[in-house]
Each structure stands twice: as structure tokens, then as C-alpha cells.
């Protein structure tokens, strides 16, 4: 048991060191939220915000941008996992008496670090253009916990995509699948403005629950059922994706 924990710790350190030796990995999670904030505030925001009280659209949309940033951070796991499968280093992991599931887990956990960078950049960019949260420290902590939970779930899905792709290129293209539900949700616009058939999906899917939780938490209000639904649904996604991904990796490792 002690050694399994050590295997996981070594693999987490490995993936974090990859970020240190390859800091370009962070350009994605730093540039993308800034671009989103500029886009939603100045480019699209003018047209979209007509339905909102003056200046309040940024308060509505920033929680959504947090989740978009989490999704973009998560899909880098697809690349990390797919690169590993093509690399000789995986051969050595396979010949070691180690917990094989730790290899994929390391990449997923390192993603949380990337996501935290994304959270910080998004918050800073949001504040710069007028976003204000009335939440206290507790509300922010709860909000960050929700973002990390979403990152973790999407990152395990991204790992799954990385293991299913037949090549690095195919896997990276498939990873776009993970971004789609983020846009087909109430993240950037109220689900209520969509046609009924679409609203059935967007209003009830886990991403919308997570974004609604964030909105409530950052506004300093109780998040209520949104929060419990989001936590339960994303926890379920984590359990399923973790089980599938570790099984797939172990199978790939014993071909």
C-alpha cells in the first residue's frame, strides 16, 4: 500500500516536472482565458448583454469562462497520455513492478495545477474588465473546489480519449469532443434563451449545474441543489472515466 502511494506520487511529480521543463504547456491555459474574457466583454458582449442590467453580463459570464478554461486545461491530458503511449518510456513502466494506473493518474493530477493557473488568469482578467464577486474567502474556496472537480472529471475523459485514439493526431482531434458540451450549456448565455428542444439538454446537463453553482457561490448566495447535483454528477463521471481509463491502460500495457 505504501508503495502504491509512492508510485502515484512519483507519477504526479513526473507530470508536474514536464510542465517545469516545458513551460510552453501553460501558454494554452493562460492565453485562452484572456482571449475569452476579451471576446465576451468587448466583441460579443455588446450584442449579448442587451438582456442584462448595465455591466452585469461579465458577472454572469465569468463563471462560465472559468469552466471553459478548465475544459481547455483538461484536454492537454489527451496529448500527455497519447504521447506516452507512443514513447519508449511506457515500455519501461510496463516492465516495472509498479501500479500501472499511476501513469495516467499523474497526468490527470498535473492538470489540476494547470487548471489553477487558468483560474488565476481568468479571475485577474475578469477583474481587469469590471467583474466583481461579492463572495468571501469561503465562497471563493468552494468555487475553486467546484472548478477543480470539473477539471478532474473532464481530464479523466480526456485521458480516455488519449487512450482510445489510434495516434496522437487522431486523439488530439477527438479531444474537441470534450469542449462541445461546455458550449452547449448555460455557461456563456442563459439556457432560457435557447429553443425548447435544445434547452432540455443544455439546462439539465452537468456543466450547467456546475456553472450555476459557481454563479451562486461567487455572488455569495447559497448554491443549493445546483451544487449537490454538480458534485454528484461529476463524481460519477470521475469514477466511470477513471475505471475505464485505468483498465484500458492496463490492457495496453499487457498486450
Amino acid at each position: 500500500m505504501k508503495w502504491i502511494a509512492s508510485d502515484y506520487w512519483e507519477m504526479i511529480k513526473r507530470s508536474l516536472r514536464h510542465i517545469r521543463h516545458d513551460p510552453e504547456q501553460l501558454t494554452n491555459v493562460t492565453l485562452q482565458p484572456v482571449l475569452m474574457v476579451v471576446l465576451m466583454k468587448f466583441v460579443l458582449g455588446g450584442a449579448i448583454s442587451t438582456g442584462f442590467a448595465d455591466g452585469s453580463y461579465i458577472d454572469f459570464v465569468l463563471p462560465g469562462i472559468f469552466i471553459v478554461a478548465a475544459a481547455f486545461a483538461a484536454i492537454s491530458t489527451t496529448t500527455s497520455v497519447a504521447v506516452d503511449l507512443q514513447d519508449g518510456v511506457t515500455d519501461r513502466f510496463r516492465t516495472l513492478p509498479m501500479a500501472k494506473s499511476a501513469v495516467v493518474t499523474g497526468h490527470v493530477i498535473a492538470d489540476l495545477a494547470r487548471s489553477l493557473v487558468g483560474v488565476a488568469v481568468t479571475a485577474a482578467a475578469g477583474y481587469a474588465v469590471g467583474f466583481r464577486a461579492s463572495a468571501g474567502l469561503g465562497g471563493w474556496m468552494a468555487a475553486i473546489a467546484v472548478i477543480l472537480l470539473v477539471t478532474l472529471a473532464l481530464s479523466w475523459l480526456a485521458a480516455l480519449v488519449g487512450l482510445l485514439g489510434k495516434s496522437l493526431e487522431v486523439a488530439q482531434q477527438l479531444a474537441a469532443v470534450i469542449i462541445i458540451p461546455v458550449f452547449l450549456s448555460g455557461a456563456l448565455v442563459p439556457a432560457g434563451t435557447m429553443p425548447g428542444w435544445l434547452r432540455v439538454v443544455t439546462a439539465n446537463q452537468p456543466i450547467t449545474e456546475a456553472v450555476d453553482s459557481l454563479r451562486a457561490l461567487l455572488a455569495g448566495q447559497p448554491a443549493g441543489t445546483h451544487l449537490w447535483l454538480a458534485v454528484t454528477e461529476f463524481a460519477a463521471i470521475i469514477v466511470i472515466a477513471f475505471t475505464l481509463a485505468t483498465t484500458l491502460f492496463r490492457r495496453a500495457a499487457t498486450a
Partner: protein, 323 residues
């Protein structure tokens, strides 16, 4: 076999998909505390064999034991004993050398003090200290290969698999690696290596297992293998076309002469290529009054072994002989 057995392979068969058999009933043993070489041309099945023994592939049929443990049913026990340096480099290019050593040491379940001591020793031994904290992807090919081997040695494996360890190395690094392998073996490590080079097998191996097209076609010591497959040959290059004709006639007395009129080279196998044979040849050449431009002794090489051992009906030369 008179030695303690470290690796026992019994009728291993492996195919990839519906394709031809990569291994077709391979059986051999490797002695503990010695180097055994799997020798053969590209595509012979050497790497497949190593990957099965290193628990990376499951055989379709047959059994293999490494250190007394079955490679399929006792994978974890086998993994405790082995180190592997494969053809595709098994190092993490996005970590530094010391980070690679520490990570794999910990994954091998070494204590932290053991990891620090062992990685210090290996960085010293392989002259890798100067690279410091640079990522391995910036290393030269030779340095990467040395690090790869160093990682394989972290846990002081009892049995070491080396898949074409010197391919792509310059001659100095190649000889340095040979010395390292000899040093490991003198401390009791068992080494199974694959190579395409007879001189490498000759320099390192106690036993050679020659594999071709998925089958073992010969086993023995390097000397036995060479004796089976070809003798040392004298090669003389005549100074002119007329000299070539007289030289061919003069040497015919020694046995089968192989002459090539274009290069004016005449080859003949005489005894074991010793001093007495050398004297006999030079005497014959002097007596015939032939002008010889160059004179050399040619040892049998992998080409000779290869053509001798892979002779079958599909080989044009062999087909002609059978006709």
C-alpha cells in the same frame, strides 16, 4: 547445460495478427552470470523474444522462465529481477537525467538513501554528471543511450536484457559499453543481448543463439559457430590480369579457390589461418613469381554465418546448388 540456468525458453511461438510467425518454436537456455547473445538479421524475431522475456508481450504458445519464474503467470516476480534497455529509448525526455534515475529507482521500490547513492554512482560511471539538470531531450544520442542503460541498472537487476545496445553508437562509446557489460557480468549479472554484429557477440558472449526467420538455426560458443560456418580465408589481390590467372592456378593446390577477375581478388581457405599456413601461401606465391598487390587474412563474419545458416530453397545460390 553445465551452468545454472537464468533464462529458459521452451517452444515459444508468437505471431502478430494473421501475419507470418515472428517466433516459431524457439527453445534455448541462457546461463546465469554470463552474456548470451541472440544473433540474427533484421526481422529475425530477436526483439520479439526479448519483449516476451521482459513481460511486454505474451507468447501464443510455449513457456519461458526468467530467474525461475514464468513470464506469463508470475509477471510481477519476473519484473522484480529484470532490467531492460530496448531499441526504442526508454527514458523520459522531458525530465533531467537525475530525475529519470530517481523516478525509476523509486518505482523499483528502492529507499530514498539507496536511490541517492545508486544514482550518484551511475552518473559517475556513465560520465553523465556534466549534463546536470538539462532535460534529456537535449542529450546526444550516445548520452541518451548511456542514461537508458544506467536506468536499467538502478535496481541492480540480476538479469539484464539489452536489445541492440550499441546500435548507433560511435566506436569509442561502443567499446566503453562493452567494458561496462563485462564489469556487470563479473559481478554476477546475467545478460541477454541481441545484436546483428558477430564481432559484438564474439567480444561479449559465452553462448550465441543464432535466430533466423523466427527459428533457432544454431547455438554454441562464438568459436564453435564460426568453425561451423566458415574458415578464415586468405585474400590476395593480383597486380595485373596476367598475375590474377597465374595466382589462381598457383593457389588451386590449396583447395577451392574463389576468384573475382574484375577486382583481381583471389580467396582461399587454408588450414586455420595460422603462421604455417601463411608461410605455405607466401612460398607458393613466390615460386609462381606472381606480383601481389595486397595480402590479407579475412575472418568469417556475419555475412558468412548468415548465408551459411539461412541457406534454404528461397536463397538463389542454394536453389542453384539443389538443381
Amino acid at each position: 547445460m553445465m551452468y545454472e540456468e537464468a533464462i529458459g525458453v521452451d517452444s515459444i511461438t508468437k505471431s502478430y495478427g494473421r501475419g507470418a510467425l515472428a517466433l516459431d518454436g524457439v527453445t534455448f537456455q541462457a546461463a546465469a552470470g554470463a552474456v548470451t547473445a541472440l544473433l540474427g538479421p533484421n526481422g529475425a524475431g530477436k526483439t520479439t523474444m526479448i519483449r516476451i522475456l521482459a513481460t511486454l508481450l505474451r507468447p501464443d504458445a510455449g513457456r519461458a522462465r526468467v530467474g525461475g519464474h514464468d513470464v506469463v503467470t508470475e509477471r510481477a516476480r519476473v519484473q522484480d529481477l529484470i532490467g531492460l534497455t530496448g531499441q526504442s529509448l526508454s527514458v523520459d525526455g522531458r525530465l533531467s537525467g537525475p530525475e529519470n534515475l530517481a523516478m525509476f529507482g523509486r518505482l523499483h521500490r528502492l529507499s530514498w538513501p539507496a536511490v541517492r547513492q545508486r544514482s550518484g554512482e551511475l552518473l559517475e560511471l556513465f560520465d553523465l554528471k556534466k549534463a546536470g539538470k538539462k532535460a534529456v531531450k537535449t542529450y546526444s544520442g550516445g548520452m541518451r543511450r548511456k542514461l537508458d542503460l544506467a536506468i536499467s541498472l538502478m535496481a541492480e537487476p540480476r538479469i539484464l536484457f539489452l536489445d541492440e545496445p550499441t546500435t548507433g553508437l560511435d566506436p569509442a562509446s561502443r567499446h566503453a559499453l562493452w567494458d561496462t557489460i563485462r564489469g556487470l557480468v563479473s559481478q554476477g549479472t546475467t545478460v541477454l543481448l541481441t545484436t546483428q554484429y558477430l564481432d559484438e557477440a564474439d567480444a561479449l558472449a559465452r553462448e550465441v543463439v543464432f535466430i533466423n526467420a523466427g527459428r533457432v538455426v544454431a547455438t554454441g560458443t562464438p568459436a564453435e559457430l564460426k568453425a561451423q560456418t566458415g574458415q578464415a580465408q586468405f585474400e590476395l589481390i593480383a597486380a595485373s590480369g596476367a598475375d590474377f590467372a597465374r595466382l589462381t592456378a598457383a593457389l588451386a593446390a590449396f583447395g577451392h579457390v574463389h576468384g573475382d577477375a574484375v577486382s583481381r581478388a583471389v580467396r582461399v581457405a587454408v588450414g586455420d589461418g595460422g603462421v604455417a599456413d601463411l608461410n605455405a601461401i607466401t612460398a607458393a606465391v613466390a615460386q609462381a613469381g606472381v606480383d601481389v598487390e595486397r595480402f590479407s587474412l579475412r575472418e568469417p563474419d556475419l555475412d558468412d554465418v548468415y548465408f551459411e545458416l539461412t541457406r534454404d530453397l528461397s536463397h538463389p545460390a542454394a536453389a542453384k546448388e539443389m538443381a
